[in-house]
Every structure is written in C-alpha cells, then in structure tokens.
C-alpha cells in the first residue's frame, strides 16, 4: 500500500474518532442531566455557594466565602502553604 494511502486511512480514522467525541459529548451531557438536576436542587435547598474542589484549606474549600486575611489566616505574614492555594486565584470580591 502506498504511503499516502496509509496516511489517508490514518487521518480518516482520526477524523472519525474526532466526530465520535462530538457524539460522546452530547450523550454524556444528556446522561448528566439528572445529576445536574440533583446538584441544582441540593444547591437551592442548602443555599450552597461553593464546589468541593479542595478540602484542605478553608479559603479554597469555600472560595467565595474567604475573608480578607485568607492567605495569612494562621498568623500575620503567614505564607500560604497549601498546594491548592497556589492553584486558585482569590475571589473577585477580594481583589484590589
């Protein structure tokens, strides 16, 4: 088989898989609708304001509820030592 034919087959297969991801995304979105409804109901019922993305520090667990001293919460000039603190930006309300 010529190289160009092999390449065409490879690219066609990859493009087919790419189209497959589009279908997969749609299917997963449809499947997740019940879960989203549950999550939305829980948010409404409990008045939740944050996602459980990191549970190690107060200011990354409840990001939007962090106070002005979040980064120095243990004592003045205490540097932020939790890994997640370097990954999350401070909430928009606390930015200068």
């Amino acid at each position: 088989m010529r190289g160009s034919t092999q390449f065409t087959i490879l690219i066609s297969a990859l493009l087919l898989l790419l189209a497959g991801t589009l279908i997969d995304a749609r299917l997963r979105q449809a499947q997740a609708s019940t879960r989203l409804a549950h999550e939305q109901a829980l948010t409404r019922m409990l008045g939740l304001s944050d996602l459980v993305l990191a549970t190690e520090a107060r200011y990354t667990r409840h990001l939007s509820q962090a106070d002005f001293h979040a980064a120095f919460q243990d004592h003045p000039a205490a540097l932020d030592h939790f890994p997640s603190g370097s990954v999350f930006a401070p909430p928009t309300t606390l930015r200068p």
């Binding site: 991801t21 879960r35 948010t43 019922m45 008045g47 939740l48 667990r61 509820q65």
Partner: protein, 362 residues
C-alpha cells in the same frame, strides 16, 4: 510520504513530542472548560446575596436580629440564617463541612453525609459515627442518609445536622448564625440592595451570586492561565526544537532539495512538498493529541490533573466532568500549535530551496 519515512526515527520522535504537547494543552483546556461550565450551571441556584459579618477583618458570627433588619430592606423577599462550620476529623485527617438544615427531617444525633465522607470513613446508612464536640466530649451520630453520590462535586465533604444538634455540637448560642442569605425580587435591584445593606449594617459584607459565579469563572481562567503559562514554555521549547530540526537541515535533506531542483523542480514545488510534509506531521499530532486528551479527561476523569487539585486533602470528591467543548478554544489550540510549527520549519527550507542546487549538493 516517502521522504518522511526516509527519516523515520527523527520524524517519529518529533511526532511524539508534538502529540504530547497538544495532549497537555488540550487536557487543560477541556478540563477547565468542563469545570467552568459545570460551576456556572450548578451554582446558578446559589443564594442571591449572602451576608457575612466581619470583625477585625475576619468572618464572624452574625446576630440573628440582623435577619429582621435585612428583611426590612426594600426589595428583599426572603431571609434565612445559615449555620455551617468546619470539623477536622483526626481519625482520617480530613476536614468536613458541617451544615445545619431543617429540610432533611433529621432528628437530634442524626446526620446526612456526603459520599466522600461515607467512603473515607467507610460508613453506610444506619452506621454510627463518633465525633468530639466543642466541649471535647464524644458525640455519637447516626447516619440517616448518604447524599446523592453523583453530587460529590457539591457534597463530598458535607455533613448535615438539624440546627439544634449543630448548635449543641459547636456550642454556638441561639442568637447567632454563621451568615445570612437573602432573596431579592428584582434581579436588577441586587446591587442596590447590597449597597443598602452595607449602609445599614456597616460591619457586614454582602457576597452576590454574580460575584460567586464570576469568581469561579476567574478561578478556572486563572488556572488555565497558570498552566497555559507553563505549557507555553513547553510550546516555546517545541518551536526551538522544530526550528533546530529544520534549520540544521541534514546533509541528506539538503542533497534531496538540491536533486529536486536539479531535475527541474521550482522553489515553489519544493516548498509545497515540504509544506505537505509539515501538514502530515502537525495534523496527525494535533488529532492524536486532542483525542488522547479527550480520553484522559472524560474517560479517566483527568487522572493526571486531579493530583494538582487534591493537594494535601484526604477527602476528595470523585466526579466525572461533563464534556462541554468550546469549539473556538479548540480552533485556537489548533492555530497555536500548528502555525508555529509551520513557520518554524518553512523558513529554513525556503532558504535551502532558493540556494543554487549545485551549491546545496556539494
């Protein structure tokens, strides 16, 4: 194709590095986009305004009498106090969020827990969990319910108690709440209501739903920015690699160009051929990298990225992100990975192609 295969090892390693780069960039892009979209959808039902009290710049309990004062602000339709706090469980070295709710029909000493706590402490419905309360005495709580496991992104570390038990557990007096939530009739008035709240109760800080949503949007954008910054360094290294590969054209490649020119190929023909070679490499790398990233994020639940988020946390939600793909981002990724490669390789080839064939072959 034949020309590419003649330098199989070199081109295969290039393809591998290129694919890896696209994989990393696309993984970050897909993950952050999925989380951002999910945060927006889920937090759309958050309270419109949360009012916190600040004492010496730090979050403090808010007096229950503020509820009445806030209820009197024009436009506020509903006020409620929230009771929540943290509990560090030394047994598993994990932090829980303890929250009070009257909606779950929980009796005293009954709890509803998130699936994350259930997994970490190996609890099922009907089991008992002993925690030390604020006075240091052990308190035995019965698991009445495990919250819907699919909602771990919201509830993994949640432990719900009835308000009475919560106050008893933390020894918090009746007259205070952790913070207050408000509903506002007209969404256009929310900012005005927040302004009025600060005027009437200067020791409070209103947090608006729009700010929460914006914060989450910014969090993921920033993270995306942070990782993109690191990856852009990788991209730069890749451009240098590609440039080096192409500018240091091997003698064999130079001879190939020379022979082609000698047998009558125009400079444009050589360029077109090399452009096709570049297109083959970059298209294959982009498609494979993107597909691998999709599988990584949505089939393995971002196995390589979650350690970054987990940090020191013992208790971490298990969740599958939903693929919400921003096609503009994918197009941008395509542009930023394919174009630098094309530019980096084309110029040196063009230089070789315009040289006299005799000189090139010599």
């Amino acid at each position: 194709m034949a020309s590419l295969l003649r330098r199989k090892g070199k081109n295969l390693s290039l393809l591998l590095v290129y694919t890896l780069l696209v994989f990393l960039l696309a993984s970050v892009l897909l993950y952050t986009q999925a989380l951002r979209k999910e945060a927006t959808l889920v937090l759309a039902n958050s309270p419109e305004i949360i009012v916190q009290r600040l004492v010496a710049g730090r979050h403090a309990f808010i007096p229950a009498q503020y509820l009445k004062q806030l209820g009197d602000v024009r436009g506020v339709t509903y006020t409620q106090g929230r009771l929540w706090g943290y509990y560090y469980d030394p047994v598993v070295k994990a932090n829980y969020t303890l929250m009070a709710t009257g909606n779950k029909g929980l009796a005293v000493h009954e709890i509803a827990i998130g699936a994350g706590i259930a997994r970490t402490r190996q609890l099922t419905v009907g089991d008992y969990l002993s925690l030390r309360n604020a006075r240091g005495a052990p308190e035995t709580l019965r698991v009445k319910e495990i919250l819907y496991p699919d909602s771990e992104l919201l509830s993994a570390d949640l432990m719900l108690l009835n308000p009475e038990s919560w106050r008893q557990f933390f020894a918090v007096p009746q007259a205070v709440y952790t913070d207050l939530t408000l509903a506002v009739r007209n969404p256009a008035e929310i900012n005005k209501v927040a302004e009025k709240i600060v005027q009437r109760l200067p020791d409070t800080r209103p947090i608006l739903k729009s700010e929460i949503l914006r914060s989450y949007d910014a969090v993921f954008s920033w993270r995306e920015g942070l990782v993109s910054l690191l990856l852009s360094v990788a991209l730069l290294a890749f451009v240098i690699f590609a440039w080096d590969k192409a500018s240091g054209l091997s003698a064999e490649e130079r001879r190939e160009i020379g022979i082609l020119k000698a047998i009558g190929w125009e400079t444009s023909d050589v360029l077109r051929m090399k452009l096709w070679e570049g297109a083959i490499v970059s298209l294959t790398a982009f498609l494979s990298g993107y597909l691998l990233a999709y599988a990584h994020i949505f089939f393995t639940s971002a196995a390589l990225l979650t350690p970054i988020l987990k940090g020191w946390a013992v208790l971490y939600p298990e969740f599958h992100v939903i693929p919400y793909i921003d096609y503009l981002q994918v197009a941008t990724l395509f542009f930023f990975t394919v174009v630098p490669y094309a530019v980096a390789t084309l110029i040196p080839i063009w230089k070789a192609a315009i040289t006299d064939p005799d000189e090139v072959m010599r």
